[in-house]
């Protein structure tokens, strides 16, 4: 119903859609010499030739070829372009590991308040007390949710948080005079984990996954030693299952002196139900653009605050936010503290993605503690319900769940049987889903699972939407039983059809020729 496809979509491309008939035209191609939208105020100070102000050799001769278009053309161009995107408000977006939950517009409204949106980052903290107070409150909230005492909001996204965590780990060990060189990550880990490890100057060592989908304890024990700086985990992990051995894992890691890092991308499964700090993690990053409703914006912005234990605290990035209780009834005062001798230093300019903090803080206050817990419970309920629905149908046979147990907020299917028995790859199923008005799940990740489909419905999808999604899967597999070509050539109804990604990398064209 929400998916909006009463009848099944076309299975051929005989009649191109309106968008398909339209040649993609860039704003630069719409440029006509002399046209313009914006205008700059007239000079109200003495007219001076630029020659007097900037030496000739430092001046630009030919202006950059920016587009020359009128305002109506710009608005029409980008409005039309926007309709070539699938978005969260079009239909279900069960993209595994990405937590595509509803983006409340209240958060956009409060982020746009001039007191937030128009606050200059170089404003004296004395005159930005509301902003520091908000950041302080968000730090405290995340601390409670993660079960770790100290928070830095500075990292700009999850991977930035990972890098921060690894540099904190390095600082921690070096401060204790230890030289550690290796970081362990499960073979199911997200690509940012190993990439961050390398950027932090460590060597990546893979840890195997056991038959329950958790960390293979024997493999872990065999690989851990004094050269290991850190174990990076996601829990529930990218298979959507909770590692039941987490306490033992933490014991082993701590015994070796390494730190235990929590990749918070899957926090949406356990808010109010379980806390990384209580599991023994030393460092956690949180993706505010996942569990805390910051819109993804087509690839950002986000924010990746980190929460840490006492032993890591001295190394947190600067500036820190400090609060001093206002004596006799006065309200407390907030300030930035730069004087942290052991700090790893800055990870970016100013104090982080404040606009994101505003949205996520508004989200946390809107739901409250119970609401966050209910959000996680419903996310897990929705995932298990969708999985059950899929099992009932053809997916049960062609797209079995990779690890057959109760899942958390997401689950991973294997398209291996579909490929084998129907000749339809996971990629084909995903593309065909587009014709049914759904965004496909994450595909071919985690690498561990053959032909993986990683499905995360989130708590904000309705039961009807999940039913419709399950039906679509079933119909696609039914089609494939009779004619696999349909999926192999899909999609048919999207603004463009299957794109040649290989050639785009072989002969990259990365800008409009002018």
């Amino acid at each position: 119903m929400t998916s909006g496809t009463a009848l099944s979509p076309p299975s051929n491309a005989d009649t191109p859609t309106a968008q398909q008939r339209e040649r993609a035209t860039t704003i630069f191609e719409r440029s006509v010499a002399g046209r313009r939208a914006g205008s700059v105020p007239k000079t109200d100070v003495p007219e001076r030739s630029l020659a007097d102000l900037i030496p000739a050799n430092l001046r630009r001769e030919r202006p950059p070829q920016l587009p020359e278009v009128s305002e109506p053309e710009i608005v029409r161009h980008y409005n039309r372009l926007s309709r070539r995107n699938f978005d969260l408000d079009t239909g279900p977006y069960p993209l595994g590991s990405c937590t595509m939950k509803h983006n409340p517009r209240l958060n956009e409204r409060v982020a746009a308040l001039p007191g937030h949106a128009r606050l200059h980052p170089a404003q004296s903290p004395k005159r930005a007390q509301g902003a520091l107070d908000l950041m302080w409150r968000l730090e405290r909230s995340l601390s409670e949710i993660c079960g770790l005492p100290h928070v830095s909001l500075q990292p700009s996204a999850g991977s930035h948080g990972e890098l921060a965590g690894l540099l904190l780990t390095r600082a921690y060990h070096e401060d204790r005079g230890e030289e550690r060189t290796r970081v362990l990550t499960p073979d199911t880990s997200h690509g940012t984990n190993p990439a961050s490890v390398t950027m932090a100057g460590y060597e990546v060592v893979k840890v195997a996954t056991d038959e329950r989908g958790g960390v293979d304890l024997d493999d872990l024990r065999s690989k851990i030693d004094e050269s290991v700086a850190c174990l990076m985990l996601t829990n529930p992990n990218t298979l959507g299952v909770f590692d039941e051995n987490i306490t033992e894992i933490a014991r082993v890691v701590h015994a070796s002196g390494a730190t235990l890092y929590y990749d918070g991308a899957n926090l949406n499964a356990i808010m109010g139900r379980s806390r990384p700090g209580d599991m023994g993690f030393d460092i956690v990053h949180v993706n505010l653009h996942k569990s805390f409703s910051q819109p993804h914006g087509g690839g950002g912005p986000g924010a990746g605050p980190i929460a840490v234990s006492d032993r890591i605290e001295p190394y947190l990035p600067v500036p820190r936010i400090v609060r001093s209780e206002g004596g006799n009834g006065a309200s407390p005062a907030y300030d930035f503290d730069y004087a942290q001798p052991k700090s790893i230093g800055r990870l970016r300019g100013f104090a982080g993605n404040f606009g994101v903090f505003v949205r996520s803080y508004a989200y946390i206050r809107s739901l409250g503690g119970d609401g966050l817990t209910e959000a996680s419970e419903t996310a897990v309920l929705n995932a298990n319900y969708l999985l059950a629905k899929l099992r009932e149908g053809r997916a049960g046979r062609y797209l079995p769940v990779a690890f057959d147990r109760t899942c958390m907020h997401e689950f991973v299917l294997s398209g291996a049987p579909a490929k084998r028995e129907l000749g339809v790859k996971t990629l084909d199923v995903a593309k065909r889903l587009l014709d049914f008005g759904f965004h496909p799940p994450t595909i071919y990740f985690p690498l561990l699972v053959d032909e993986a489909l990683m499905v995360e419905p989130t708590e904000t999808e309705t039961r009807e939407a999940l039913d419709a999604l399950a039906e679509a899967f079933d119909e696609i597999l039914a089609e494939a039983e009779s004619d696999p070509e349909i999926a192999r050539k899909a999609p048919y109804t999207t603004p463009v059809r299957r794109l040649d990604e290989a050639s785009a990398s072989r002969h990259p064209v990365v800008r409009q020729a002018l």
């Binding site: 920016l66 993804h296 230093g345 739901l367 299957r498 990259p508 990365v510 800008r511």
Partner: protein, 467 residues
Amino acid sequence: MTRYTSATDSDRQAMLDAIGAGSIEELFDQVPAEVRLDRALDLPDGLTETECFDHLAGLAARNAHADAEVCFLGAGMYDHYVPAIVDAITQRSEFLTPYTPYQPEVSQGGLQVMFEFQTAISELTALPVSNASLYEGPSSVASAAYLAIGATKGRRKLVVSRGVHPHSCETLRTYAKGFGADVVEVGLDGGVTDAAELAEAVDTDTAAVFVQNPNFLGAVEDLEALAAVAKEAGALTVAAVDPLTLGVLRPPGESGVDIALGEGQSMGGRLDFGGPSFGFFAATEEHLRRMPGRIAGETTDADGRRGFVLALQTREQHIRREKATHNICTSQALNALGGVIYLAWLGRQGIVELGELMARRTAYARERLAGVEGVELLHEAPVVREFAVRLDAPVDEVLDRVAEDGIAAGYPLAREYPEYEDGLLVAITERRSKEDIDRLADSLGAAIGALRTHTVQKAPIPEEVAS
């Protein structure tokens, strides 16, 4: 039931039945008892939308923002006007809510925007290739270092001009720990990078030289001369540039720079107390396959239609993992969209006119302030949108007094430049009129005057000063 979920009690029951579970509790059985939270989160209760709005509005009201003050603050982010169409377009769900375009067939809007963005940045910097955004300015500098170390086969020295934004230098130092690289700083002379000192610092182990234009003190650097020194030693030149000055300043691509990057906030971005904004990153062709971040590329679909995809993904973490050119995943796509809309709005003529207006007003402001008793220029180098002065009174106290006149006078240099303990950085945009500048001058003069006489009462000093 939260207002963002829709599972009613009867939904929940029906769903549990379908799952074959007796309760939601049961679904969490896999979480070992010892790590289950057996209490409610210690957070305030949820608020209704109207209560939540009022609470946030209350916090916002305690910030002195740029509509409430006349703002001469800069230091990397600037109070430029954000055209209404930027908000109108970036707030459309179709741009606001999607994830990174992993399914290009339903992401052509976002992918074409990236392609247009890359074209605009390439035009601004006069460099052939650009990525689709990084987090923000300073961390982009550090990312360039990572590229340079790779590109120079493991050279491990990073030479940085003191004219580079302190946040960038500090971020570079933080990252350098991970890279196992050393950061060496080169001082300023007359407001600009000391070319001689640079020449000494750069050697065959130098991976890259980092400069900024205009530099942190507002001075226009001679990029070409500095780049020549680097090239000499086989090091890359990385220039952090201010995009809105590139209508009038010689672009990095025409000055021998290998990598140009910078903070994108001034192009249609909100101030947002420092973020989210975006970083841009452009380079010469040879570095394309080492670039960090997303890059959109043109291709065709099964029927030969023009389309766009994420190109060169083999550089990226989700494919190459530990061998990736960078770890970045979520970036700043929406802010970059704002940037390309802004540049289309400003246009080919506008970018030049804006640069000229800023240069003229900045020249006026600089002269006007230099004429104020107790204010002198910190350097005489050419400037276009920002300049530095020295105050003959405690800077912080001056700023507090001027703030009472509803003016944010500028950025104090003391913390990051102890050598300019009395320094103040003043920024100009198209929003700061001659009238505003005159108000600033008068208010500064009054504040300094008051504080000096004030000092007089405190300590005895030579007549000529007192009189």
